[in-house]
Point group: C2
Chain length 331, copies 2
């Protein structure tokens, strides 16, 4: 068996977040669906940006956020994602590598520029995301390095990978390699609208390819088209080894065969921007899981990471998560 | 006489801030002078960036920050600065224009890329800045639009303009136009090391070209090479119409002929990043001054803006400064 080199290898749409503040009127004036991630083309992205206020840019992408949090927690992490050979692409690569994340995906040298996500944060700390996939459409099976996947305890992928055309083939290739090497495959459902776009494929994935599923309440209810959380919980049991279901300030529920663990949310003094809460939760959970912690403790670390990320602007941790988790778990 | 179109026109080195967290050991390991702005070349910038942690990018530049704060306060503002036709350049232009700032400086289409400033924030909230001037070296007298300067109540310039070769000629051209039109010329001394680099020229400027001077304690003492603040205060009296001298948490002192006003600092619950404090103070002061407020009130608005900017990461305001100032002044 190949030696474990990485605790988690993440595969996702690599992008820069362009974070702006706006009020609810801006969303309605521009027909934006609050709280959702919508896909837009280059012209729409440009037009919406021109109408937006001053921005702050930082690396984002769902799985990219998770992998960065994992590295900040001290896990050995790797990332696969496609950026263009431009200033934003180099900024993305800098940010993951500077945390010690293994990143070797070839840069795109033709086609569209590095992907951006316009993250519109409203005064209630909710975020509405408008994504221009850009260079992400170039991610495909050739970008999956068999040795890296086989050497990763968990291969983690975001549901958003179903949006660009060729990335799902990359996902399936990676899942196949991981399982042949006896590793776990993990999926985040990303967002309820993403689930809407790809429901049948996601249901099949969860049943046949996924060991550890991450979803929030809305996503898991959307997946199984039920209108209450308990029904979704009953359906997902037995579909995959572990389901970690997050419920915002109600904490999370971990389903593992007949075991169900209910874990409270970490208290937060002021929620400033909910972007990346789910990504950070997945990071904390997988950090605990790959370190051999029990499921409630893993969920608790997930909650600690999510609480850090929502207490400031931007989806990536500003605190040293390793120290933070040690302090909170020690208390 | 030309009609006033802008309360303040700012001229400065246009750049993106690349903000990273680091400890004091990082500064000493890389021979960086804590709290200072140092100029570095492209290779050094690249090497230092590669050694730095994950970054957040946002528009910066001393006068750029001031002008953005002024626009956020509701002043009519214009800005002159040189960026390259690249992703960072377009981000800079977006950020100033999105606040309603008049910006028409031609983009550089050859030469180095848009300037960046690596801002290293240490746990004590102090910032150490490493600037790659990039496209700023292309700013020159041709970029000064006579009609805009003549139509601005105050033309505001940063001392850092003395660093690139041709910008000082732009400064002097603008000062000359402003005075011929009966307007005020304002200068920020930028930082004590910048004063060291250009002391003789700055002394001459203050005496012969500047109506409103902004400086902090260290800068004004460096300018006149004295070792206490009171001596500097006595020298600067009569050198220019108004000197607004900032003293960190001790507030500010306004010198206007025989009048001296001492104004307390605004309380801040937690200082996170002192980058841009002086820039924001100048914005608040000039907002009050051009609106016909008295000097202590203008200084108070300066303090309110500085307090907002140091309470979060990044040099530009995140709150609506107009509302904030109205609330604080009303209280």
């Amino acid at each position: 068996m190949v030696k474990i080199q990485f605790d988690v290898l993440g595969i996702g749409n690599a992008m820069l977040d362009v974070i702006v503040h706006a009020d609810d009127a801006f969303l309605s004036d521009n027909d934006l669906i609050k709280g959702a991630m919508s896909l837009i083309d280059a012209d729409t992205a440009q037009a919406l940006y021109a109408k937006s206020g001053p921005a702050v840019e930082c690396s984002g992408g769902s799985a990219g956020n998770t992998i960065s949090c994992l590295a900040s927690l001290g896990s050995k992490a790797a990332y696969v994602g496609k950026v263009y050979n431009d200033q934003l692409g180099h900024a993305f690569i800098h940010d993951v590598r500077s945390l010690g994340v293994h990143f070797e995906t070839a840069l795109a040298i033709d086609g569209p520029p590095t992907a951006t996500c316009l993250v519109i944060v409203t005064p209630d700390a909710e975020r509405t995301m408008q994504t221009f996939l850009g260079a992400c459409i170039g991610l495909g099976p050739d970008d999956i390095v068999e040795a890296d996947v086989a050497a990763s305890a968990v291969t983690y992928m975001e549901g958003y990978l179903w949006d660009p055309e060729d990335a799902k083939a990359a996902f399936l290739k990676a899942a196949d390699i991981a399982h042949k090497a006896g590793r776990d495959v993990s999926l985040s459902l990303s967002d309820p609208f993403c689930v809407d776009r790809h429901r049948d494929e996601f249901t099949d994935l969860v049943t046949n390819h996924v060991d550890i599923l991450f979803a929030n309440e809305d996503e898991i209810m959307s997946l199984y088209q039920v209108d209450n959380f308990d029904d979704a919980l009953q359906i997902v049991r037995g579909q995959c080894k572990i389901a970690a279901l997050t419920r915002g300030d109600k904490g999370s529920v971990i389903v593992h065969g007949d075991e169900i663990h209910i874990v409270d949310a970490e208290p937060v003094s002021k929620v400033l921007d909910t972007t990346g809460a789910g990504d950070a939760y997945a990071a904390g959970f997988l950090h605990g899981y790959t370190a051999g912690k029990d499921l409630p403790t893993s969920a608790r670390i997930g909650g600690i990471c999510a609480a850090e990320v929502i207490s400031h602007l931007g989806a990536r941790a500003q605190a040293n998560l390793k120290d933070l988790a040690a302090e909170k778990l020690g208390a």
